[in-house]
Symmetry: C2
Subunit: 219 residues, 2 copies
């Protein structure tokens, strides 16, 4: 915020402490996210931020505090509000939009997603604070799905084979499965269109276009 506005002058005229703090955070984000907590030393962060190690400890009491700050910063893009887009679309289109949004987000933030998953699986210590926030995001998304599916079922727009909660859960599992396949198998382009077609084919019982029957996203 003020960190950026203060940098009006084109070159390295940084003055305020916010500026160095930001530089440190950026360097730490990069290093922590790509190497992990224990494999990143404060000296490395200092070097990458072109700042003395002591300054980092002036901004952040401990390495862990810096790490938590990085976690929160990396988490920001995950808090998105797309309620306004909903207005005109019917439930089926909204669901499709929601699924596509998930897949696009994962594709465009793969490295950050990978980092968070690895972090939560690996380190229960930090995970505790993290779990709360991630779970909030996750259940928010799930609730939107449930709500939409429920309304779609009322209007007979989709199969009533499952309860909305079960359908949403299964859908989420499929999405998560696509996610991890994408993270593991490199060169797996995660084609959101094909995957969305596949998933909504299941959900709405639609007949698929011949191209989608091959499920590029899963082959």
């Amino acid at each position: 915020m003020s960190a950026l506005s203060a940098r009006a002058g084109s070159v390295e005229v940084r003055g305020g402490s916010q500026d160095s703090r930001d530089e440190i955070l950026k360097a730490a984000m990069h290093l922590f996210a790509s190497r992990g907590f224990h494999e990143t030393s404060m000296s490395e962060v200092a070097r990458e931020a072109r700042v003395s190690k002591a300054l980092i400890f002036w901004h952040f009491k401990t390495k862990e505090e810096l790490f938590v700050a990085v976690l929160n910063r990396l988490l920001e893009p995950y808090f998105i509000d797309f309620s306004e887009e909903a207005g005109v679309l019917d439930e089926r289109a909204q669901l499709r939009k929601l699924v596509e949004f998930y897949l696009l987000f994962v594709r465009d933030n793969a490295s950050s997603v990978r980092f968070f998953i690895a972090q939560m699986l690996h380190d229960q210590h930090f995970a505790e604070g993290l779990n709360e926030q991630v779970l909030k995001l996750y259940s928010g998304y799930r609730n939107m799905l449930i709500e939409l599916i429920s309304r779609a079922q009322e209007k007979n727009l989709c199969s009533r084979q499952f309860t909305p909660a079960a359908a949403a859960g299964f859908l989420l599992s499929a999405l998560n499965g696509i996610l991890i396949e994408h993270l593991f198998v490199q060169n797996h382009p995660l084609d959101p269109e094909s995957a969305t077609a596949m998933v909504s084919g299941w959900l709405f019982g639609e007949d698929l276009k011949p191209a989608d029957r091959e499920g590029k996203a899963f082959a």
Copy 2:
């Protein structure tokens, strides 16, 4: 193997070098799997194995070599052969069996599965050697699914809506999604029966029993 048989006497009469090597491996397995590579020190391993640190370096040249040995040891349970069970069952039952097997395995080896996933996501260095083996397992499983689905489609036992490869891919994604949900949401019991019912409901277009419509595995 001989490690155990040599310990016939009730108390600590271990002799051969294999015995101490095994003790070290067991300690290292435990520590690496629960804390990770970088967070585990050789001194800790030595203490847990009740052995001097120097002895570890006598058995294993470096920490990394020990870690690789641990990886291979932890990977052993994953190589299972269940071709003989197939014999009498029809394709539909075989598929159900295969799905259930996946889920049971994940449930019963959750900590090891968690460790491998975290490891592969986190550390590309070791992941390279690991990826090969894991990918072999994975594509082996996938090929069995494809083969079975293909035969099931020929016999009209299941929907022909998708190509076998696409159906297998989607199925695997669903399974992986269940897997990660199970790893993240603690107290999520991963009910294999319910999940299998759900999944085969999708695959075979079967009507579900009322209890399964609620999809306990996903709620």
